[in-house]
């Protein structure tokens, strides 16, 4: 029995071949390919360098390059390059910002808005995330979450427009309030910091909700039960157990929302008014209205980038974590 088995194995190997080789089989046996890979993959080190070369070039050229170039031209007196003129080094573009309140005011306003909107988003989404993570049955969580994600996929412009319809003078909100007899004439919600706030919170809330949810979901129910067992009331349990353990989620959520909300351009243009001009609009002005003000725009962008990244950096430091796990 044993002998028969192994001899069938031998036979099947020696029977004359029919059919074709697979692509990968042909490749693995191809002389030219093997000669090439023999050289390219000769050592582990060489393989690693081969694998590493493109990503390294990419991240330096495509990810870091634009930022460095932006900083660079912010020190030039003229850009884009003109024929017959050699750009000179200058600090004027940076100085422009600090000299004029029409620039500083939108800058400060942007930061104040970003802080306010981030905090508002946190307040609004925390109970939602808590409800999802701790009150909804595990098998239903996906559906409840998906329900919130659907509007999230719709882009910035479409959702901004939706808010315009909601808040307009003849919009749904005013109409509703008038029908309820709470107001006589429409409240001008639009083109104020209120409409801008509603819009930004609307756009960013999911960036806050998801990190909060995943942080809260990880807290075992038994911790809260242990807390209750030791005599902690609902508020104490929240303050001493839930809140510290969801710190991670709060930190990433706030960071994301802060960075994203400072970067909106179309939303402030559409929802805001002259009294709510943000820095993004100021920056954009140098690239659209006035022709040759790119270096100033670059300097302003650099100022905003430095400010945004330092604020989030300090914030993350205060929250006691490095920015490494930010995107997770």
């Amino acid at each position: 029995m044993a002998h028969t088995q192994s001899s069938t194995l031998e036979e099947s190997r020696e029977r004359s071949p029919t059919g074709r080789r697979s692509f990968w089989g042909a490749l693995a046996q191809n002389g030219t390919y093997n000669a090439a890979t023999g050289v390219l993959f000769k050592t582990q080190r060489r393989q690693f360098l081969l694998l590493a070369s493109f990503p390294l070039i990419w991240v330096f050229v495509a990810h870091l390059g634009p930022i460095i170039q932006m900083f660079w031209i912010s020190f030039l007196d003229s850009y884009p390059p003109r024929v017959g003129y050699e750009p000179q080094f200058t600090l004027d573009n940076w100085a422009t910002f600090f000299g004029q309140s029409i620039f500083v005011t939108p800058f400060i306003r942007t930061l104040v808005y970003a802080f306010t909107f981030t905090f508002a988003t946190l307040l609004i989404t925390y109970p939602v995330a808590y409800f999802l993570a701790k009150h909804v049955k595990r098998q239903n969580q996906l559906i409840f979450l998906l329900l919130l994600l659907i509007p999230f996929w719709v882009g910035e412009i479409v959702r901004t427009y939706a808010i315009m319809i909601l808040l307009g003078n003849t919009g749904a909100l005013n109409r509703l309030l008038m029908m309820l007899g709470m107001i006589e004439r429409p409240i001008p919600f639009m083109y104020t910091s209120f409409s801008l706030g509603v819009g930004i919170v609307y756009l960013t809330s999911l960036y806050m909700l998801l990190p909060l949810y995943s942080a809260l979901e990880k807290i075992p129910r038994s911790y809260l039960e242990a807390g209750a067992d030791l005599g902690a009331g609902a508020w104490t349990r929240f303050r001493r157990i839930t809140l510290p353990l969801s710190k991670e989620g709060i930190a990433s959520g706030c960071t994301l929302v802060f960075l994203i909300s400072t970067g909106y351009y179309a939303t402030p243009v559409l929802l805001g008014g002259p009294s709510t001009t943000v820095f993004a609009e100021t920056i954009a002005g140098f690239f659209h209205v006035a022709g040759d003000q790119w270096p100033t725009g670059a300097a302003f962008s650099s100022i905003m980038l430095i400010a945004a990244l330092s604020i989030t950096g300090i914030f993350l430091k205060l929250m006691g974590r490095s920015g490494k796990g930010l995107m997770k």
Binding site: P55, H63, I163, Y264
Partner: protein
Amino acid sequence: MTKSTRIFMSVIYWAFVVYLFVPLVLMVVMGFKDSAFIGFPIQSWTLDWYKGVFQDTEVINVFIYSMTIAITSTLLSLVIGTWVASFLGPYKFPGKVIIFAITCLPAVIPGIISAISLRIYARFLDIEPGMLAIILGHTVHNVPFVALVVMARLATLPKSHIEAARDLGADSLIAFFRVTLPYLRPALIGAGIFCMLLSFDDFVRAFFLGSYQPTLPVLIFAKLRSGMSPEINAISTVVLVMTAILGIWAERSMRRMNKGA
């Protein structure tokens, strides 16, 4: 947890759902209004605005233009992101944290600054504003997302699978295509759809990197600046339906992957 807080919480949740959906529902409804004036009340209804959208060659061309950009930049992002992840994920080397930070950089830079810096960079590289510039801009913005998703998936691939492939006669390259890539499939589908959405929905980069030919969000923006009209609602609704379907699909494939499919 007392019953009253439980009820309070669920009220907040549903209020939030209403907050998210009502503006979109209003927008959809307004697209059926038989009047050029956006606002309530709605007296009579029509399908004309939708018919108009599907007959408007400008809108259709813009749609095709946006789709082309989304698909191309997605494919590029997937290839580059996977390559970056295959290098950053499994290997340890000095300076890895810095490379990782640079990899994530485009995803955390505020939108306007990202757009401006890419505009300047395109000029520096002599890339004319237009399709190529937008595609490259979107690719730069999307690569971090692909890299992160693929890295997360790669971390769950047992090292022995690659070794088994090597053992059975595959060199590193063949092992990647025959074992690693199929394993990454759900991650790539999820990340790919996510990139499509990011690209298709993007306004600020397309606005600064584009030429006179607008993408769909830029077109809607331009129309909005000259006044609200149910036509915009109809266009937006088409975009909304498409993105929602794509989004749900992406979410499903990502969740399934996380459950260890």
